[in-house]
Amino acid sequence: MDTGKLPPLLLLHPDDNILVARRDIAAGERVEVDGAAFAMPVAIELGHKLARRALEADTRVLKYGAPIGSMKVAVARGEHVHLHNLRSDYLPSTSREIGNNGKTDGH
């Protein structure tokens, strides 16, 4: 299977406002989102998410067409969407570096 021919970004559901990386994508690599080509502002690893379009703070983030949390801050199209800018609407997440993420951001 020639993976180079497959688009590097997956849209899992038409309502989603994030895309998922099908493979590691380098910063600066040209990608196409909704018909518009642009250079990736940051590197993204396989399985991680990026903004399909500019997202305001408090925007509900949709993946599989379902809400997976809300933006803590606004991001531009193509930005990495992860622990630093997306919070759970249910329970805080934990990471090795900052322990209980919920306690550090007041969520």
Partner: protein, 405 residues
């Protein structure tokens, strides 16, 4: 059902007195307190046999849940005979456990270390008992077994951003086909289904069952809130997952698209084929810590519900297997598969490189059949027989939970 999956040769089972059939015929050596763990482990190791499995409960104080779990596990259809190992002074109700096993028609024996004269004498007595039990089980022939006599559980461990796109929905397809063929399939970890409660409730076969499902996810959210955080590990975040509800949506896809026939608790065996949700979060005020302290705690509960084998999806790369029931490892992430192929039965990550979801689902289905005919899964062949059982507390399920019973 999927046309390619019809009219296949039968599975191979060991007939049990309660009418169920096992796909393995193991001798379980069970310690009844941590103080008997080492002696039990020595018996298993020195037996030199792959079909002698170590299980047990470490606590010294009696607990209804642990007794029920041990009774279910020791009379699981994959278990042919049981050797119980007690220190002697612990609170575990060894006589009730022994009676339950004997009543099931299985050979059972009990060694009490304080009465046997210590480590070496108990070890030698245990090796002798296990040798005789294995000789007895070796005489037992297999009988044909149908898919509608099979119970399959699923669990995810080390999930990442690929799990919900590849391995989990592929298991969901396999579940749909197994249920079409009459099998019972169980998915679980209500704490990892937080955010999916309304969608799940809408799949319940009655509105009352739907309400029970929503209530049990609420219970899980409350329990984890008191613990301080949800079922979310650092590796989940490193693999691209950000929130518990995102992990939940991915995990939920393991359930496929069949209607949900019931909500069960650890030790409840599905009464017939169909899809069942297993509630693993204790009832009442939190008492004993996190509901499931590691993936194997969930696997043990799925096995206590009668699961003959476990479909385990992983993105980051878990290597575990289990005592009693074989674990089939389905790898979600193609890079992880490339690194850890020796541990993985299925490369579902190839979906990201252009493979079809249905093809991977069919591969999992075939593997379920082959392992249920005696073929070893990768974790089995590598000798993985992890087991963990801790304190919990449950109330019995209500009548709305099993409308089909």
């Amino acid at each position: 059902m999927n046309a390619q999956l019809k009219n296949r040769p039968a599975l191979k089972g060991f007939a049990r007195r309660d009418g169920r059939k096992g796909i393995r015929n193991v001798v379980a050596v069970a310690y009844l307190v941590e103080c008997a763990h080492h002696v039990s482990r020595l018996i298993v190791q020195k037996s030199g046999a792959d079909d002698v499995h170590l299980i047990g409960f470490p606590g010294c104080y009696p607990n209804k849940y642990s007794l029920e779990m041990m009774q279910r596990l020791c009379t699981h259809p994959n278990v042919g005979a049981v050797l119980l190992v007690s220190l002697g002074c612990e609170g575990f109700n060894r006589e009730q456990l022994r009676r339950t096993i004997a009543d099931s028609g299985r050979p059972v024996d009990l060694l009490v270390i304080q009465q046997s004269g210590g480590t070496t004498r108990t070890l030698n007595a245990g090796l002798d008992i296990v040798r005789k039990m294995r000789a007895e089980l070796a005489k037992q022939a297999t009988v044909p077994m149908a898919l509608n006599e099979l119970i399959v559980g699923t669990v995810c461990g080390g999930s990442d951003g690929t799990s919900g796109i590849t391995a989990n929905p592929a298991v969901g397809r396999c579940f749909d086909w197994l249920i079409d063929a009459g099998a019972a399939c169980i998915f679980e970890e209500t704490g990892e289904l937080i955010g999916c409660e309304r969608i799940m409730a809408s799949r319940a076969i009655t509105p009352e069952l739907g309400a029970e499902i929503e209530a049990c996810v609420d219970k899980a959210a409350n329990y984890y809130r008191i613990m301080g955080y949800g079922s979310f590990a650092p590796g989940n975040a490193e693999g691209g997952l950000t929130t518990l509800e995102e992990k939940s949506m991915g995990a939920y896809s393991k359930s496929g698209s069949s209607p949900i026939s019931g909500l069960i608790k650890p030790g409840d065996v599905p009464p017939r084929g169909g899809l069942y949700l297993l509630d693993v979060v204790p009832d009442g005020e939190p008492r004993f810590g996190f509901p499931n302290i590691s993936d194997n705690a969930e696997i043990v509960e799925l096995i206590a519900c009668g699961s003959h084998l476990i479909l385990f999806t992983t993105g980051r790369g878990s290597v575990v297997g289990s005592a009693i029931s074989p674990v089939i490892k389905i790898c979600a992430n193609p890079d992880t598969y490339d690194r850890m192929a020796d541990d993985m039965d299925v490369n579902a990550g190839r979906i990201l490189r252009g493979a079809e979801l249905d093809d991977v689902g069919r591969e999992i289905f075939s593997l379920v059949e082959n392992v249920a005919r005696g073929e070893l899964s990768k974790s089995e062949a590598l000798g993985h027989q992890e087991f963990i059982l801790t304190y919990k507390q449950f109330e019995p399920i209500g009548p709305a939970c099993l409308p089909a019973a």
